[in-house]
């Protein structure tokens, strides 16, 4: 497969070519090109055996087959929707997949336009005028939002308020990101799944810099007091940050209409299959914070022929120009995932997107109702509207129920001693009957 027997199969050199090139350089050997002092030279071996492509594909296929074949009713921030075939086929075109960041816009107009369109879709969905072309995931998006609040804050305070119900991972990232600031993260309580407005009112004060709420919440409930939360934050000169995802945004209250200053969340709910938590952080905000936005922005400009052209812009916010005064250290983001999400969203169109989101409400309602009929299960636990997922009470210990369900081929979350959580979309909807049957056995 390659012209040199040993070595990298992806280096094209024949030994004759190598020799000729060394000759042109004027050295005798490849070794002579390395300027490494003996005391730090590595003379050992990694002990990694090279495998042929065929052998390796077989090996990895067998390896991944060690994962059990479960039907997942899992969500809590990482969602599976059906990804249309066109997303794979178009995103795998090598002109997209194997390109670098668009530092030479004249030859990367295609990707820049895709990212501009992605930003535009988020602007439409959030109602906010600025969306960047991605954060790593929802957690880092939230964390960057808190840091943005810190940079623009009008108060002397330092408290970042987050919901009691918040993925530990998300809170963990937030805490690490504010570790270098004087911000401190505190929780506010929830009431029956949603924000406890009274308790929050008591907590928000002069010291509050940032109030974060999610819609839907991590427990799948649809928030009812967003406007009030936004007003509370603004009355105290704090920023109101709303967490959501790209599907939910197409149906639920528009963030701009409830006063959100920043919207963060998962855009990877479109475009990606379950991928062990790999995400796509959406980040949108108001015009006034434009120069404080972390990450990359694509803008419109003109070329020398006065034709419309796209380019990365406002790069003076970024680390490669501004160094330690940058808005963030992020450079490589999730551009290709954004491309996939954009193609998926475009495939759905506004009708498809709203239909999909409405199904998320209906399916969750259906599954909860079905489970509620199972003896030993009450669902949903929270008397709220739900989106995609909900918490159910089990009379048996939740961990045991989940383990028994796994033996039956289903994965669910355990979120309390007697609480499991289930997420349903079009990809597992047709397994509801078998899940309910299994639940009747194990609950």
């Amino acid at each position: 497969m390659t012209r040199h027997e040993r070595g990298s199969p992806y280096a094209p050199h024949t030994s004759e070519e190598t020799a000729a090139m060394l000759d042109a350089i004027g050295v005798d050997s490849e070794e002579a090109l390395f300027d490494i002092p003996d005391d730090v030279a590595f003379t050992g071996e990694f002990g990694i055996e090279s495998r042929g492509e065929r052998e390796l594909c077989g090996e990895l296929s067998r390896l991944f087959a060690k994962n059990d074949d479960l039907t997942e009713f899992l969500g809590r921030g990482h969602y599976s929707h059906y990804v249309p075939s066109i997303v794979d086929h178009l995103s795998l075109r090598s002109e997209f997949l194997t390109s670098y960041t668009q530092y030479q816009p004249e030859i990367t107009q295609g990707f820049l336009q895709v990212l501009f369109e992605y930003q535009s879709m988020l602007v439409e969905l959030t109602g906010l005028p600025i969306a960047n072309c991605s954060m790593y995931d929802a957690a880092t998006g939230l964390a960057e939002a808190a840091r943005l609040a810190n940079r623009v804050r009008r108060t002397s305070g330092s408290t970042v308020l987050v919901p009691e119900y918040l993925r530990a991972g998300k809170r963990g990232v937030l805490e690490n990101y504010v570790d270098g600031t004087d911000l401190a993260v505190e929780s506010y309580p929830m009431a029956d799944g949603n924000v406890d407005l009274e308790a929050l009112t008591d907590l928000v004060g002069d010291d509050t810099v940032f109030v974060y709420a999610e819609n839907p919440t991590v427990r799948g409930t649809i928030e009812e007091g967003l406007k009030e939360i936004g007003e509370l934050a603004h009355d105290n000169d704090a920023l109101f940050c709303l967490g959501s995802d790209v599907v939910a945004l197409s149906l639920l209250q528009e963030p701009a209409s409830v006063g959100a200053d920043v919207v963060v969340g998962e855009a990877g709910a479109l475009g990606m299959p379950a991928s062990y938590g790999m995400g796509l952080g959406l980040f949108a905000t108001k015009e006034e914070f434009l120069r404080q936005v972390p990450g990359r922005l694509v803008g419109v400009s003109e070329d020398m022929s006065d034709r419309r052209a796209y380019t990365l812009t406002l790069q003076t916010r970024e680390q490669h120009i501004r160094k330690e005064r940058a808005t963030s250290n992020i450079c490589t983001n999730q551009a290709w995932v954004a491309l996939r999400a954009a193609i998926h969203a475009a495939s759905l169109g506004p009708n498809g997107l709203v239909d999909l989101a409405e199904d998320c409400v209906r399916d969750a309602q259906t599954l909860a109702a079905r489970l509620d009929e199972v003896s030993g299960v009450q669902a949903p636990v929270h008397d709220r509207h739900h989106f995609r997922e909900f918490v159910a009470h089990t009379d048996q210990p939740a961990a045991a129920v989940a383990e028994d369900l796994e033996a039956e081929g289903f994965a669910v979350h355990v979120v309390g001693e007697h609480e499991i959580q289930l997420c349903v979309t079009e990809v597992n909807r047709d397994r509801i009957d078998t899940l309910v049957a299994a639940m009747e056995e194990v609950a």
């Binding site: 990298s8 199969p9 280096a11 000729a20 350089i25 490849e30 090109l33 730090v40 590595f42 990694i48 990895l60 991944f64 994962n67 074949d69 479960l70 090598s94 997949l97 390109s99 670098y100 030479q104 004249e106 990367t108 295609g110 990707f111 501009f116 879709m121 439409e124 969905l125 005028p129 600025i130 995931d137 957690a139 840091r147 993925r167 963990g172 570790d179 270098g180 009812e224 149906l251 528009e254 062990y276 938590g277 990359r296 803008g299 400009s301 070329d303 034709r307 812009t313 490669h320 330690e324 940058a326 992020i330 450079c331 290709w336 491309l339 475009a346 506004p350 709203v354 989940a402 994965a411």
Partner: protein
């Protein structure tokens, strides 16, 4: 040539809520307005856009420090294995395949870098840096030893500075020595009991090996600081030197440059971080380890916690693993050898001066009296991707060039020809380039002065 925006092809407003809605109207938005197009229309749209984009299968991509090398196709197939498409909240029991791959990758990376423990969680190189610096910070704090400064060479990647600042450190910038390497006297002056870490890449950003690395390490360690290795240039050294052996305590790996994962027009990346034994207990949660007959997750004892909501960019990690396993010891060493060979060959064929050497996988030529950015634009007309320009600043009008090991001699000659053609051209020609590309020179200043960042903003024009 011009491909309209999706919104110029269609814009359909859909009312949301109402009688058929599963939600009361006060919980829904009013409407959504987006393009509604058929699949054939979308296929053409994105196909045309792809044709207006340069990838590494279009031609060489010698963007110094960034660069692109060929991304083996089979790694995409492997990453698309449906058995690998699992949710992160699955039980460990039911994801033994996933955990085993992660364990193996931790192990491989440790061996390659000479590190004792590795986290795969950081979703990009910059996130890896941040993780590493947080680990350093946690270590110092655990020793009751709060420190306030991070020392960084002036020629370092911008992320190093931004990362240190994000973690709350003051940055102490280290001027380059005359030979382009760390100036030991300047380092002596810079380090102190306040030094949390020195961040260094080796070979450095003009391709030079820091020959005094052992002394540098000693100087930092002597004041109680840690040595952080920016893995951007590890692709020059595979099998010939390891950061761990040079005295580095922490490092991140650049998977796209070193392990050929696709860069996808700006990500996703991955920034695994390796540390020496002493620091392993501070790594992010969770790590993967063996247990009886299988693999499990665990939280390091004094873990810094999370740097990604879940486990990082899984798909990228799979591709990196597949690449390493495909190449093995000999392939990895050869990849570095050929990367260095190609850089030196290309350097020998161009008419621009290269002030610093001996360089390894990349070199910083100077455009001299010409404007490096203009030279780059002109190279577009010659059908190749140009080098990184105007950085690092220690080389005036720098053109940082890194061809990688995947280019053959003919392509390197084409690149040299493009450099040399531009070398003979006048400023006016350069300033008006490119002429043969889909878009001509783009007004960057205008874009920033009048930001139009969505198609909604265009409606206002």
């Amino acid at each position: 040539e011009y491909e309209p925006l999706l919104s110029e092809k269609d814009s359909t407003a859909v009312d949301v809520g109402g009688d058929d809605s599963p939600l009361p109207d006060d919980l829904t938005r009013d409407s959504v307005e987006l393009p509604e197009l058929s699949e054939p229309e979308l296929a053409r749209h994105y196909t045309r856009l792809s044709q207006m984009n340069y990838g590494v299968e279009t031609g060489p991509y010698p963007l110094g420090s960034c660069t692109m090398k060929y991304n083996p196709k089979f790694t995409e197939d492997v990453a698309a294995d449906p058995n690998a498409a699992v949710h992160p909240d699955r039980s460990e029991r039911s994801t033994q395949g996933t955990l085993k791959m992660l364990y193996n990758l931790q192990d491989y990376l440790g061996r390659i870098g000479g590190m004792d423990a590795v986290t795969l969680q950081p979703p990009a190189g910059a996130a890896g840096e941040f993780t590493g610096i947080l680990v350093a910070k946690a270590y110092h704090e655990a020793n009751g030893n709060d420190r306030s400064e991070v020392v960084i060479p002036a020629s370092a990647h911008g992320t190093n500075f931004a990362t240190a600042a994000m973690a709350g450190y003051d940055v102490v910038e280290l001027p380059s020595g005359e030979d382009g390497r760390v100036d030991l006297d300047a380092l002596e002056a810079a380090v102190s009991e306040d030094t949390a870490a020195l961040m260094l890449t080796n070979p450095n950003t003009v391709g030079l090996f820091e020959r005094d690395i052992t002394e540098i390490a000693e100087m930092v360690h002597d004041v109680g600081g840690l040595l952080y290795y920016d893995g951007a240039n590890l692709n020059a050294l595979l099998g010939r030197a390891r950061p761990g052996d040079m005295g580095f305590d922490i490092m991140h790996y650049n998977v796209h440059k070193t392990f050929a994962t696709p860069h996808g027009g700006g990500g996703p990346g991955a920034g695994p971080v390796g540390v020496v034994d002493e620091l392993a207990e501070f790594l992010p949660s969770p790590q993967v380890r063996r247990n009886d007959g299988g693999f499990e997750l665990f939280d390091p004892e004094r873990s810094i916690g999370k740097v990604h909501g879940f486990y990082g960019n899984w798909l990228v990690l799979v591709k990196a693993y597949a690449y390493i396993a495909r190449l093995g010891d000999e392939g990895l060493a050869d990849a570095s050898a050929k990367a260095v060979l190609n850089a030196n060959y290309l350097g020998s064929q161009i008419e621009y001066d290269i002030p610093y050497g001996p360089y390894h996988h990349e070199f910083a030529a100077t455009a001299g009296d010409q404007d490096a950015a203009d030279v780059a634009k002109r190279m577009l007309d010659y059908g190749v991707h140009p080098p990184t320009t105007k950085w690092p600043e220690m080389v005036p009008e720098a053109m940082l060039t890194e061809p990688t090991e995947v280019e053959n001699r003919e392509t390197l000659d084409d690149l040299a020809a493009a450099f040399n053609a531009a070398h003979g051209e006048d400023d006016d020609t350069l300033a008006n380039a490119p002429n043969k590309t889909a878009a001509r020179r783009i007004d960057q200043v205008g874009a920033a002065r009048n930001p139009r960042l969505s198609w909604h903003a265009l409606d206002d024009d």
